[in-house]
């Protein structure tokens, strides 16, 4: 009886651990998306690239479409750290143009002169940049026209602005 109970107990623990492990992964994914999305909002990516990443016009000018861009991880990371010379895309890493090491596009602030990108309002740490790059790659890049699911994922299920994108139900459902 004792052996049976012990086995039962171990199985119960194992299944709890198994369940935790599964929800742990889902939780980890959600946490990365939340961290990346938080950076996307706080660093004002949303102001120019819009909530859907499709970019377009605005006070900041014509922002790149992150949905269509072919930039890879290294490319996205470089653009966020260093900005884009000649455009309003700011550089987000403190001091990246500051020393002699030519971190950005193998050039320096001196050489860029008037093409120097603006500095961002909030500088980002490496892990913030990594989080927002992963967010863009997972939830924005290559995703075609933004739809209702994208809207709800960004603004929430109750968001009024998503209602006009909600799919209409066919009558026979």
């Amino acid at each position: 009886m004792q052996l049976f109970l012990a086995t039962l107990f171990r199985a119960a623990i194992a299944s709890v651990i198994f369940a935790l492990g599964l929800s742990g992964s889902a939780f980890a994914v959600e946490k990365v998306r939340s961290a990346g999305k938080a950076v996307y909002k706080k660093a004002n990516c949303v102001g120019c690239h819009k909530w859907h990443g499709g970019g377009g016009g605005g006070y900041g000018g014509m922002a790149l479409s992150l949905r269509e861009t072919p930039l890879d991880t290294a490319g996205l990371t470089m653009v966020i750290r260093c900005g884009r010379p000649g455009t309003r895309m700011p550089y987000h890493q403190r001091g990246v143009y500051g020393d002699d090491e030519r971190h950005c596009y193998d050039t320096s602030a001196e050489e860029l002169e008037g093409a120097m990108p603006p500095r961002a309002h909030y500088f980002l740490k490496d892990r913030d940049i990594a989080a927002v790059v992963e967010y863009v790659q997972t939830w924005i890049q290559g995703r075609g026209t933004p739809g209702y699911d994208d809207c709800v994922a960004f603004w929430g299920a109750d968001a009024r602005r998503c209602k006009s994108m909600a799919p209409t139900r066919p009558d026979n459902e």
């Binding site: 004002n44 000018g61 603006p118 309002h121 009024r160």
Partner: protein, 588 residues
Amino acid sequence: MDLKDWTLVLCVCTALSGNTLAAERTGNTTSERLVSATDEPHNWLHHHNTYDAQRYSRLDEINRGNVADLKVAWTYALGGTEGGGIWPIAGLEGTPLVEDGFMYAIDGWGVVTKIDVHGGRAKFVWRMDPATDKDWAGEIACCGIDNKGPALWGGLVLSHTLDGRLIATDKASGDIKWEAEVASPEIGETITAAPLIVKDMAITGVSGAEFGIRGWLEATDLNTGKRRWRRYTIPAPDEPGGDTWVDTHEAYKTGGGSTWVTGSYDAELDLIYWGVGNPGPDWDREYRPGDNLYSNSAIALDPASGEIKFHFQYTPNDPFDYDGVNELVLIDSEVDNVPRKMILHADRNGFLYAIDRTNGAFVYATPFVKRLNWTAGIDAQTGKPVDYDPEAKIQHYAGVAPSRAKPQSELMCPGAMGGKNWIPMAYHPGLGRLYIPVIESCGKISTSPVEEGGTNIPREWFTAGGITNPEVITGSLTVVDVKQGKVVHKLETRYPLLGGLLATAGNLVFSAMPDGDVIAYDAQTLQELWRFPTGSGIIAPVMSYAVDGKQFITVAVGFGGTMPKWWIDAVPGLENTNPSAMIFTFAL
């Protein structure tokens, strides 16, 4: 009498006495009091203090002799810094009102707080939260989570919300009596302005020219909460001024012309004056050939119908976003020894204009910024830029603007922020001096043309281009002698003036800076007499009131607005300013 009759008598008596008590406690803001607001210098009953928008306080207990002793009397945490839409935080742009010892303050989301300010303290009375839909409105707010202030009428406090409503709150209880949906965020409209009360109407101005709206002013009947009239600032083809939109794709429907700064009123002439903003799209004027009336104009409206009686336009076919909404200060003065009833308007484009407010005739214009290159000057007869071509449908002025052929502008001065933005100036009638909060700037703009056959998608940006800030933006407190029409003093400052000025009978001018300092200057010499660091950033106007004979100076402290998002790279040093939501009040 039987019991029923006695009950009726008692109920009526109680109701009567209750109402009387309520009126005494809270003050009844009659139309007569609003017209004669200058008779109540201890109160601040209008957004701009008085209908003439002079922002001049007749209180003089605090004066040049004693202002150095000014100290904090109280502070009050309003709350409301949370963000929404594309804005991570909200700031404070509002001018609080004070009536008979009660202050009405508002935060960026339209929450009104009534504060008892008797006895030199601040005591909470009630708070009205209109439950603004923050993401719904915040996504289409071009320039911050802003609310410039409430208004008072009868037993009501009137206020707007960013998501387009006019709210009428009971002054005594703080309960919402009614609300009206005036603007439509569905099509990119928001509201940031304070209402203007004229007779028994609230006048509402709309925001959204960067989102392809067609601008308007609307009058709401304060007895019923229903619309009295709506006047579009961008005329349809068959309306007066409609022939200044000569395109063939109905550009007037997305023509801009927002009305986001509170207007003024002359009760004798019975005219409402209001500033109309930039045409849309901001930076592709080839999409909207023609002078684009009534963008960038002062308009005078008949309060009964909203009919536009006359106008004066500053920058036709605007290439620059030289938004013409700035406030219209009404003064009675003289020019060349001739008495004139005038409007003074410091425009985004860097010129101070004096316009005859009886008929819209041009009186004079003078540059109030250090650097100006978009035009060679203003014609002394017509009031138009000398390089304005009345025959042309597209204006080039002095040649620094971008175009479809050459999408990057030259360095333009002033930059797109101005000149002067919505930040209110102040007038000292005794000295005949106008004090202008100046943004000394040059900048660049670029054109990204609207596609062939294209138009705006509702709730999408419709600027057809953007700004860059290649230079640092600084500021100045600039003084104009209004009889001469000349700048007589310019005090340069590290930062642009983004708060709002107050002139007082104590011969003081108060200013508040985006680094959080509140400053008092001698109104004649501009000598700095007092300064206090509030520790955040100030983007709201300074005001003054008195209770039981004691004078107070108040300003809302809470950095926000458009600066942290679109202009922060041009003001090094402000990037570490944190949000706040405090009311600061000073006294001797």
